[in-house]
Each structure stands twice: as structure tokens, then as C-alpha cells.
């Protein structure tokens, strides 16, 4: 089995606030990420698809098609957006790297039909990232 990885970047704003907690608890748990005016990151996403190359094309999947899926599902939804307000899939969730990666996994997984989505890694910064891997991998 082979794996192909494509990388993309998007810039987005967010802040962390749980309306079920007091202002003081929000500040204690989320620290400066609780600032309601928000802040932002250049997120970097690596998407890995696994499979056998098609003998006719030598490709696991058409990278143009993968790029089109990523443009539609991720870039159009999240690039230059505010993750608290503009992304319905994150509504009611704290837009942490864990939650964003989970949303991205759930958006991409059913859309990739040649090969299968095996892994995504979402960097919020070079110092912080989340991995989602298919179970049992």
C-alpha cells in the first residue's frame, strides 16, 4: 500500500469560550485564548490518502481531484473565516485544534472515493499539532 500526502494552508480567527462556564472559569481554563476579540493562526493541514496506484495512471488518486475536494471542503469553509461564527460544523464546539481536525476528518472521509483517507495532521503553529488516524492504523 502506498500513501500520498497533500498539504494546504488556511488562515482563520478563533477564541475559546464555553457559555456554560463562568467568566472566571473561562479565563482560568482558556487563558489568553478566551479573549472575546479573537486571534488567529496560519493553520497547515496535511492530508494522507492510502491505496494502490491505478495501473492505467500510476496514481492512487487524481491529485487535481483531491485538491478540488480540499478547496471545497476545507479552504472554502475555513480560509479567512472566523471559526466561532462562520463554520456551522463547529457551532456549539470550542474551536480547538482537536475539534477542527475532527470536523475536517468527518468532512473529507466520505468524499475521498479513490484510495481512502488514512491520516490528517493539523498544525495550529509549528509547536502544536493534532493527528487523526484511521482506527487500527
Amino acid at each position: 500500500m502506498l500513501r500520498v500526502t497533500r498539504k494546504l494552508e488556511f488562515a482563520a480567527a478563533h477564541f475559546y469560550h464555553n457559555p456554560n462556564l463562568s467568566a472566571e472559569e473561562n479565563r482560568r481554563i482558556f487563558g489568553k485564548c478566551n479573549n472575546p476579540k479573537g486571534h488567529g493562526h496560519n493553520y497547515v493541514l496535511e492530508v494522507t490518502v492510502a491505496g494502490e496506484p491505478d495501473p492505467k495512471t500510476g496514481m492512487i488518486l487524481d491529485l487535481n481531484e483531491l485538491k478540488a475536494i480540499l478547496d471545497r471542503e476545507v479552504t472554502a469553509r475555513m480560509d479567512h473565516k472566523h471559526l466561532n461564527y462562520d463554520v456551522p460544523e463547529l457551532s456549539g464546539k470550542i474551536p480547538t485544534c482537536e475539534e477542527i481536525a475532527t470536523v475536517i476528518w468527518n468532512l473529507l472521509e466520505p468524499k475521498i472515493r479513490q484510495g481512502r483517507l488514512e491520516h490528517i495532521r493539523l498544525y495550529e503553529s509549528p509547536e502544536l499539532f493534532v493527528d487523526c488516524a484511521r482506527n487500527g492504523q
Partner: protein, 138 residues
């Protein structure tokens, strides 16, 4: 789908690869320039990966403030600007290769109370990296 959270830390430290019971020639043959008697150093970059349930209230596997504090108290405070051979107790018995450094740091961090430590990955330089995972032997 399995989720893990990784955080990257760094510290500069010095070390020397050698075994006291071996001759200089033997150390030089096995460890090469890393056996240089006065030691040398690296900017180590350490990736700490943890897994666990995403807390419903916070959206987090682990609060980074907790993770940063735990890593600082158990690793960075001791290893930053240190001589690994002489100042880190674990390396009195074992050679401070980066393989062993992965194990030592894993051991120091595995009691992190808020999530399960899954992997330690260390870049000794931009060209060399080493990993130790919880599913491996200990």
C-alpha cells in the same frame, strides 16, 4: 478515528557518547566524533504526543497549560542548558544517545495525569530524529 495532540519543545544541551570501561580507541571506533572528550551539544527539539478523549466542556484532549507545566517541571527545567552525562541522573548508567534520551523523557512524562502519553519524538539535528512510542517495549 484516533486523535492525538502534539506539542513541540526545545532545549540546548551537551553530551558525550562514550563508555568509561572502554579504551579511548574503542570509544572512538564506535562513537566517532561524538566521543570527543570534552563533549559537544545540540538544540534538541522534543515532540510530546498525548491521546485521550476530547473533553466536552473545553474541546481539548489536554489543557496546554497543564502539559506545558508538566513538561517544564519534569524535563525542561533539568535538561535546558545542561550536560546530559553529568547532570541528568539517568545518564550515569547509560550512554546519552538520542534513542536513550527518548526513553528517559518518556519515562519522566508518562505519569502526566490528564491524558495518555503516546509518543516522544526528538530531533537531535535537522537530519536526525528518533521516536519512542507507548506500544513499544519499555
Amino acid at each position: 478515528m484516533k486523535l492525538s495532540l502534539s506539542r513541540r519543545y526545545s532545549f540546548p544541551a551537551s553530551h558525550r557518547l562514550f563508555r568509561a570501561e572502554w579504551s579511548d580507541a574503542e570509544n572512538m571506533r564506535v562513537f566517532g566524533k561524538c566521543a570527543n572528550s570534552h563533549g559537544h551539544g545540540h538544540n534538541y527539539a522534543v515532540e510530546v504526543s498525548v491521546t485521550g478523549k476530547v473533553d466536552r466542556e473545553t474541546g481539548m484532549i489536554a489543557n496546554l497549560t497543564d502539559l506545558d507545566g508538566f513538561v517544564r517541571r519534569n524535563v525542561i527545567d533539568a535538561f535546558d542548558h545542561a550536560n546530559l552525562n553529568e547532570e541528568i541522573a539517568e545518564f550515569r548508567q547509560i550512554v546519552p544517545t538520542t534513542e536513550n534520551l527518548c526513553r528517559v523523557i518518556f519515562k519522566r512524562l508518562e505519569k502526566f495525569p490528564h491524558a495518555k502519553l503516546e509518543r516522544i519524538r526528538i530531533e537531535e539535528t535537522g537530519k536526525n530524529s528518533f521516536e519512542f512510542s507507548s506500544d513499544g517495549e519499555t
